[in-house]
Symmetry: C2
């Protein structure tokens, strides 16, 4: 057997052992239910990962809803694209970031109204996937109480998936979540003086 043949044989044996381990691990994960996913951190990808999962869910024929808690613009690419899908309800319910409104009373009322819309979906077993985009800010700023929010979330339909995005997700939310990713900023084009490009940032 040549050195190259020998290398390939060893590779094959190693991969067979690896496959056995991975197959056993996959077989052990057999519970099925709706998941709570949290995308947090300071890097790019929190909302876009939620929208990627939305596309995935729509491809499986699932019924979905999106509520945007901070954003107040309706010219985004994601909204234009997903609004054409009959299986998505899309709600832009924010008023902009705190430094844009400069009005704490208004911010609290806006968050409360968006949460009331969220509660409607969290009690609707015809909704397979709900995305609460930029929702963590409502907790961070104390506009909504974590206890109140978690009670409704934990009582949602068994098979309903929920994705929450935003920076600084509180520990109490992370503890309750099934899958949590910290989108850790390594670098961002904005820091190098590049404008927010349509199709990438919005």
């Amino acid at each position: 057997m040549s050195d190259e043949q020998s290398r390939l044989e060893r590779h094959k044996a190693r991969m067979l052992r690896k496959k056995a381990v991975i197959d056993a691990s996959i077989a052990a994960a057999d519970e099925e239910r709706g998941l709570l996913l949290v995308n947090t951190g300071n890097g790019k990808g929190k909302s876009s990962a939620a929208f990627g999962v939305l596309a995935r869910a729509l491809g499986h024929g699932m019924r979905c809803a999106v509520i945007q808690f901070i954003k107040n613009r309706s010219d985004t690419g994601e909204e234009a694209f997903f609004r054409s899908s009959p299986n998505v309800c899309w709600h832009v319910m924010g008023d902009g970031f705190t430094w844009e409104t400069q009005d704490d009373t208004k911010d609290r009322a806006t968050a409360r109204a968006a949460w009331e819309q969220a509660v409607v979906y969290l009690r609707d077993d015809k909704i397979d996937l709900l995305i609460l985009d930029e929702f963590t800010y409502t907790l961070k700023y104390g506009w909504l109480a974590l206890d109140e929010v978690m009670q409704v979330i934990n009582e949602r339909p068994l098979m309903q998936h929920l994705i929450i995005t935003g920076r600084a997700a509180p520990d109490g939310l992370i503890e309750e979540a099934d899958t949590v990713t910290d989108m850790t900023l390594k670098k961002h084009a904005y820091q190098a003086g590049i404008k927010a490009m349509p199709g990438v940032e919005w």
Copy 2:
């Protein structure tokens, strides 16, 4: 003035100062060009964030292409959903992970063929966004050379956006990228014994 009125006035003044800083920072970022984004790390969200940006780009009427370098299944929600869009070319060109093929010679040939398709798009200025999904593995395993790859990437059309996903992105790729996020695993439902749910994981 009541304590509450006073609090709200202080909040407003603080937010006005914050807005001035942020507005100046936005004004300073004025360069426009195609970006190289890298989504790496061990957590969930690398591919889904790329597909969320794909939705965004399509919403702006951009022409897009996706090449999947490892995946060999065509029953995913994302493929079903995006294939119905006339502005996306979708290529599943993988053969599965190394422990599935157990064949290093085949893996190398598969990676080379997918890269040749990528090169076609990287030289096509009619493509506004290209996604090379799970591409980092071709570098990690040495199937493709970083130098060869970076030369084609750096010579692509000026306004073309490129997203590369996958674990363990090499330093040389990260250095050249504009925006890099490490999708850091905090926890994953799979670790708690929950099956890969359709609409969320595929």
